[in-house]
């Protein structure tokens, strides 16, 4: 069905006819709903939207979106999507991946995607476990976690997806969580506006194999103290009454309480997502409980030319300079002789 018709698109327009097959209670449902809710706000035609995923519970995502979709192979979605986007820049391409898909088998494509800054939106469902293969540890699993493949507990040090992205030169990093639909929708919409690779880590609960892993962050009673929602240009305040904040001591972030020890709001760090240097962004990304709140929101959003822009520029430039304008001219150019 053509979507050239006039009425604005709604969430329903983005819902495919496929039965959703995640476990009851899986965090993926909420993410799907948030994406379907965010889509109409992007002002795009749905035929121009493509969801490309790898393999994993999370990677089943494209089946449920009534857009173009490609459920590819494990870990390779960033590479595949790079080809799609570069060869057809009109498309709005979303990569859906899991912590195993993106950071284990797909690690190389992940870092090179960020390095190249291809204009894609990457939804990284981080449940700190391999869901689809029934519960092995992932590169984000916490040390000590007992899983099917680590009966004595995980001994690998985990990746911090955001820190790795900073190491690879990422231009955009946001973090959100499956329990907060409003924040998800908002971040999805804003991320899609970033030109370059927008990496969005979504803390996602796997009810079956790693249930409640983010409970500390999401618990109703404590969430105000355990989360900080960063917004560009706003002071880094959190707590139920925004009574707590972050300040910098040397290279360390510290939690302070307004009014205590003479701390005033003006002492609190103001979030600058646009700062090119990723040092402070990395510190924010890596804050963990119990000493610090977990940072949500758009942590980094800096400008840099996208790979597609540069491809386009080189093409334009070479078209301007080229003497040979067609294949026939090319094969007839240079040394030839007549028999």
């Amino acid at each position: 069905m053509s979507s050239n018709s006039n009425p604005p698109l709604t969430r329903k327009d983005f819902t495919s006819d496929q039965t959703v097959r995640w476990c009851p209670g899986c965090g993926d449902y909420a993410i799907l709903a948030a994406i379907q809710g965010a889509m109409p706000q992007l002002g795009l035609k749905k035929e121009d939207i493509v969801f490309i995923s790898g393999i994993g519970c999370s990677s089943r995502f494209p089946y449920y979106m009534d857009t173009y979709g490609f459920h590819t192979i494990h870990g390779r979605a960033p590479a595949l999507a790079t080809g799609t986007k570069l060869s057809n820049p009109e498309l709005d391409v979303w990569v859906v991946t899991g912590d195993g898909d993106a950071l284990a088998i797909g690690g190389n494509h992940f870092i090179h995607l960020l390095r190249r800054n291809v204009d894609l939106n990457v939804l990284l469902f981080n449940n700190e476990i391999y869901g689809l293969t029934k519960g092995q540890s992932s590169p984000t699993s916490q040390p000590g976690l007992v899983t099917k493949s680590t009966p004595l507990g995980v001994i690998d040090r985990p990746f911090s997806p955001g820190q790795l992205a900073m190491g690879a030169g990422g231009t955009f990093f946001a973090r959100t969580i499956d329990t907060n639909p409003k924040l998800m929708t908002q971040i999805f919409v804003e991320s899609s506006r970033h030109r370059g690779t927008s990496l969005i880590e979504i803390l996602q609960n796997c009810v079956i194999f790693n249930d409640k892993v983010f409970e500390d962050v999401t618990q109703k009673e404590t969430q105000d103290d355990h989360q900080i929602h960063l917004e560009h240009g706003k002071p880094m305040l959190f707590g139920k009454d925004k009574e707590k904040g972050l300040i910098l001591k040397g290279f360390k972030l510290e939690v302070v309480t307004l009014g205590e020890n003479g701390v005033e709001e003006k002492d609190i760090l103001v979030h600058d997502a646009h700062e090119q240097d990723p040092s402070l962004h990395t510190l924010l990304i890596n804050m963990t409980l119990p000493t610090h709140p977990v940072a949500l929101g758009i942590i980094r959003d800096v400008e840099a030319p996208t790979y597609g822009d540069l491809v386009k520029a080189q093409k334009a430039d070479s078209q301007r300079k080229a003497k040979v304008k067609s294949m026939q001219e090319l094969i007839e150019s240079g040394h030839t002789w007549i028999v």
């Binding site: 069905m1 053509s2 979507s3 050239n4 495919s16 496929q18 035609k45 749905k46 035929e47 121009d48 493509v50 490309i52 393999i55 494209p62 089946y63 979106m65 009534d66 857009t67 173009y68 979709g69 490609f70 459920h71 590819t72 192979i73 390779r76 590479a79 595949l80 999507a81 790079t82 080809g83 799609t84 986007k85 570069l86 060869s87 057809n88 009109e90 498309l91 190389n108 494509h109 090179h112 491809v311 080189q314 093409k315 070479s318 078209q319 300079k321 080229a322 304008k325 067609s326 294949m327 026939q328 090319l330 094969i331 007839e332 240079g334 040394h335 030839t336 002789w337 007549i338 028999v339």
Partner: protein, 616 residues
């Protein structure tokens, strides 16, 4: 030296010349100059560069010798020749490492100035290389190339290093004289190359060239000159082309025909990299090249481009192709077009990266998990790479399937004259585009009733939104399906789709009579040697024909017939018998004899002839 009368010249049907020197001696340029000049006078020819395995070994050592072989003829030439009639050796190392490529009785032109003790020792000779009794088998022409070049360019104002870089032109001049060739084209070229930027260099090179020519004219030591009269070639405009450039251009021609974008996702590897290098020069002709982070990203990015409706192509050689298997399986399952170029090299593992071989046929046909048939093609000569690359795109796009094109290091780097085609006359390429129908649900796995290929629904097209993937899919809808009967149906229809490609490829041709005693069977890049050997033996009265296969999977429709019309079949290939085994499984009704060579080298005509004679 006093000028002497030239000896009379002998006329030859064909002759093989080999230039060999240090990597820095400019042998590749020298060789191509000789090739072009010969082409201009109408010879048929074929050339092959022989690069050192090391990037740049120490000067004067055998590790650093660079060679260039060319065969020119008044008859049709299909290979650069088994062994050289004339070897130019710029130093002892060049002699040492090239003598094995030279015929007994050949003329060896050596720079005697370089044959001092130091040079001999560097090359690993004990004692004077020329004193060796083995050398009596050759006619050695001791030319003082270095000293005479120095003299010729003494007034050029160039520094010593630049002066020395004119030595190759001296040698070329001498060879021009030997074959009664004009120096004009090369002089023109030197002026074009250096004229503006460095006129002194142009002049010095020209002077060296002339000095070499004149040395030939003057010196008694030289044998008679040779004449190789023009070949009878179809009239038209010709150019030289190497296999890798031809492959690149074939892809580009197909792209232009379709009018979309050629997306080349690749990771460098010898001997495939030159295709990337060539394509990356032509961004203005709607080529996008991505040097990916690895081979898997390369093939996946190409699949992503195909998915976007463009032409996705990836290339590699053995080890890199091995890495792409899983992703090729995805393209096969998703039924998307994809072209995979495999420029085969010596294997297994890292193997012999700079050498040639045909040992990836198994991998091409069977190297994927599950039942995953794809189209497999091969090219026979450097220039035919153009046609086969074009065909690869055409078949991939029209049949919605991956196509692997097998070339090899020998084709890739070899070159030959190519009659420039009229691209307008190339067969059209039709993308089977899906069309949205108002009110109807789009079925991405509906199939063309003849080809059995599905239709391409390009993202961006309203009304064709759909989802595909690597899980088994339901007939027509493409939805994920675990239904047992559907799985078998889909496995079989994918196999049948590829089998039916036989209806869309040319019938297998036979060189020689269509029935008889012995059919020599080859595939891909061994064509030159097999063709020449079979022709020569037929000329000598033997009952032998050749079937050289370009379409390997599926095999042409008439293959059984072609094979069945002969009493014996001798399958010759540069591996341990992969095609022979494949024929055994495809046509078990026949028996097959085998001739195999796995030395990183192409067949020689001689060894093929000897083998054939054992069977006729």
């Amino acid at each position: 030296m006093t000028p002497t009368q030239n000896k009379p010249s002998a006329t030859l049907e064909k002759v093989v010349i080999r230039f060999a020197g240090d990597s820095g001696d400019g042998m590749q340029f020298t060789g191509s100059q000789f090739a072009f000049t010969s082409a201009l006078v109408g010879n048929d020819l074929a050339t092959f560069p022989d690069f050192p395995a090391e990037i740049r070994a120490p000067k004067g050592t055998t590790g650093g010798v660079s060679g260039f072989q060319i065969q020119i003829g008044t008859v049709e030439i299909y290979t650069p020749g088994d062994a050289a009639d004339v070897l130019v050796a710029m130093n002892p190392a060049a002699l040492k490492s090239n003598l094995k490529f030279v015929k007994p009785g050949a003329n060896l032109i050596i720079d005697i100035d370089a044959f001092d003790k130091r040079g001999a020792k560097k090359a690993g000779y004990e004692g004077d290389p020329l004193e060796n009794p083995k050398m009596e088998a050759y006619h050695i022409i001791q030319a003082p190339i270095t000293s005479l070049t120095k003299k010729a360019v003494a007034d050029s104002g160039l520094d010593t290093k630049s002066q020395m870089q004119c030595r190759n032109m001296f040698a070329l001049g001498l060879v021009y004289w030997l074959f009664e060739r004009s120096v004009d084209q090369t002089i023109k070229e030197l002026n074009q190359k250096f004229g503006k930027k460095a006129p002194a260099v142009a002049q010095a090179n020209t002077d060296a060239l002339m000095a070499g020519y004149n040395f030939g004219l003057t010196v008694e030591a030289l044998p008679s000159t040779y004449k190789v009269p023009p070949a009878k070639k179809a009239s038209g405009t010709y150019r030289h082309i190497s296999g890798n450039v031809a492959t690149a251009w074939g892809l580009m021609a197909a792209r232009e025909k379709i009018g979309n974008i050629l997306f080349y996702g690749s990771y460098p590897i010898t001997p495939a990299s030159d295709i990337l290098h060539e394509l990356s020069k032509h961004k203005h002709l709607d080529v996008i090249t991505l040097q990916a982070e690895d081979e898997i990203a390369a093939v996946c990015s190409a699949i992503g481009a195909s998915y976007a409706g463009q032409i996705g192509v990836t290339a590699s050689s053995g080890p890199g192709i091995a890495l792409k298997g899983e992703a090729i399986g995805l393209a096969m399952m998703a039924e998307l077009p994809l072209v995979i170029l495999n420029v085969q090299r010596g294997g297994p593992s890292t193997g012999l990266p700079t050498k040639t071989e045909q040992s990836d046929l198994n991998l091409a046909i069977k190297g994927r998990n599950g039942e995953s048939p794809i189209i497999v093609l091969s090219a026979s000569t450097p220039s035919q790479c153009f046609e086969m690359a074009y065909r690869a795109v055409k078949l991939a796009v029209e049949h919605m399937t991956p196509v692997m094109l097998l070339t090899d290091g020998y084709l890739a780097n070899g070159s030959e004259p190519w009659k420039i085609p009229d691209l307008g006359a190339l067969p059209p390429i039709q993308q089977p585009l899906a069309v949205a129908k108002e009110g109807e649900t789009f079925l991405p796995y509906l199939r063309d009733p003849e080809k059995l290929s599905r239709f391409m629904a390009v993202p961006g097209t309203p009304g064709l939104e759909h989802r595909i993937g690597g899980l088994e899919k339901q007939d027509q809808t493409g939805n994920v399906s675990y239904d047992p009967a559907n799985h078998e149906f889909m496995v079989k229809i994918r196999a049948e789709k590829i089998a039916r490609v036989a209806n869309y490829v040319p019938e297998q041709a036979i060189f020689g009579p269509k029935e008889g005693e012995l059919l020599v069977v080859g595939w891909g890049g061994t064509f030159g040697a097999l063709r020449t050997a079979v022709k020569e033996l037929r000329d000598e009265g033997h009952n032998v024909s050749l079937a050289q296969f370009n379409y390997l999977s599926p095999l042409p429709k008439n293959t059984a017939e072609v094979l069945g019309n002969f009493k014996h079949r001798l399958v010759c290939e540069l591996n341990l018998g992969q095609f022979a085994n494949y024929l055994r499984e495809q046509f078990p009704q026949y028996t097959y004899e085998q001739y195999n060579k796995v030395q990183g080298l192409p067949f020689t005509i001689q060894e093929i002839k000897e083998e054939i004679l054992k069977h006729v």
